[in-house]
């Protein structure tokens, strides 16, 4: 029996889809069989982020309506072993799927594959309820901004109220320079406020834009710092104990001294 992991955030635009794409690809690279399930019906995006948009024939709504079989809707990503995408429908709305149908679908997928990663839509309405219903594990993505943290806190409450104990936190788009200056909340601040387990920290990385442009997840590019951070998270999901990246915010005495005398450390 595989694991169903929902990737959620509350607020839109914090990196749920990018995170889903990278973690799924990473798990496949580690030899696991993985289905990426886009639950954002009406606003699908996981297909473009993965570069598989031209191969869609059937989608999630077709499957739950019985128009096609599960295997027909699954797109095999030929670049990686055992990685599949089930796209969301683009022309339907979120009420096209009922929670019971999603529960059945995720259950059937989990019987065949090691991991089912559900890319949750933004918001707390029907789409969210559909995305979490079949999950046995949850990941909350947020950025170090007040609006995203507030929404993440709301989502954590809703996940716990729906029986998903111990959601894990990914802090995305951390700008190390700003954290050093004291103009961005650091990891300790965020964990302190949200009070859940930290799964990983993704530094802000221009390469994410480049990789999304190309439709190739950053995790397959060894030069990308964000890709490296995603690799670490994949290992943690698989139970390995990987230390967190050093985003050291405490300047040493010499660094402070250098600053006072106007020397720039760069």
């Amino acid at each position: 029996m595989g694991e169903v992991i929902v990737i959620t955030s509350g607020k839109g635009g914090v990196g749920k889809t990018t995170t889903t794409a990278n973690l799924g690809t990473g798990l496949a690279l580690e030899g696991k069989s993985v289905v990426l399930l886009d639950a954002d019906i009406g606003l699908r995006n996981l297909d473009v982020v993965m570069g598989l948009e031209n191969r869609i024939v059937y989608d999630l709504v077709d499957v739950v309506e019985g128009i096609c079989r599960i295997k027909q809707a699954l797109i095999k990503d030929k670049r990686y072993p055992n990685l599949y995408l089930m796209p969301a429908a683009q022309t339907k709305d979120k009420n096209a799927v009922k929670p019971e149908q999603m529960l059945k679908l995720t259950k059937e997928l989990a019987e065949e594959y090691d991991f089912v990663l559900v890319d949750c839509p933004a918001g707390i309405e029907q789409g969210f309820k559909n995305a979490i219903v079949g999950a046995n594990r949850s990941i909350v993505v947020t950025t170090p901004e007040v609006s995203a943290v507030r929404d993440a806190d709301r989502i954590i409450g809703l996940l716990e109220a729906n029986g998903l104990r111990n959601p894990q936190l990914i802090i995305n788009r951390v700008k190390i320079d700003m954290v050093r200056r004291g103009d961005m909340m650091n990891i300790d601040d965020m964990v302190d406020i949200l009070a859940i387990d930290l799964l990983g920290v993704i530094p802000d990385d221009e390469y994410i834009v480049v990789s999304t442009n190309r439709g190739e997840p950053a995790i397959s590019e060894s030069k990308s710092l964000a890709g490296q951070a995603y690799k670490n998270i994949v290992k943690r999901i698989l139970g390995e104990n990987v230390p967190f990246m050093n985003l050291d915010t405490d300047e040493g005495f010499m660094a402070k001294l250098a600053k006072v005398f106007g020397f720039r450390k760069k």
Binding site: P144, E145, V146, V149, R150, D153, R154, G157, V179, R181, G182, D183, M184, M185, N186, D189, D192, I193, K259, V260, G262
Partner: protein, 94 residues
């Protein structure tokens, strides 16, 4: 120039500290799901009880949700704090 900046910069001017402080207070309200109407209702009822015994300065009365540290394990918990300025105790009660 830089030296002046260094001296002017107090600890609390870090914008991340402001963000953290604001969030912590905001989340207490979000988590408790307490509406301003609910606080007004509590305020009204507390006043009703107290005015039997004490003369209160109603304009200075303040009731708000905030956070405090629990004594036994130092964890942060929500607290209802009331600031009730007393004009005088009512004679007939004493």
């Amino acid at each position: 120039m830089d030296l002046f900046k260094l001296f002017n910069k107090g600890e609390s001017s870090n914008s991340k500290d402001i963000a953290k402080e604001r969030l912590q207070l905001l989340l207490i309200h979000d988590r408790a799901n307490v509406s301003p109407q609910f606080l007004e209702m509590i305020k009204g009822e507390i006043m009703d009880v107290l005015t039997d015994y004490i003369e209160i300065d109603e304009t200075g009365l303040e009731i708000k949700l905030t956070r405090t540290k629990r004594e036994n394990d130092n964890s942060t918990i929500p607290a209802l704090v009331a600031n009730i300025p007393i004009k005088k105790m009512k004679e007939n009660i004493r």
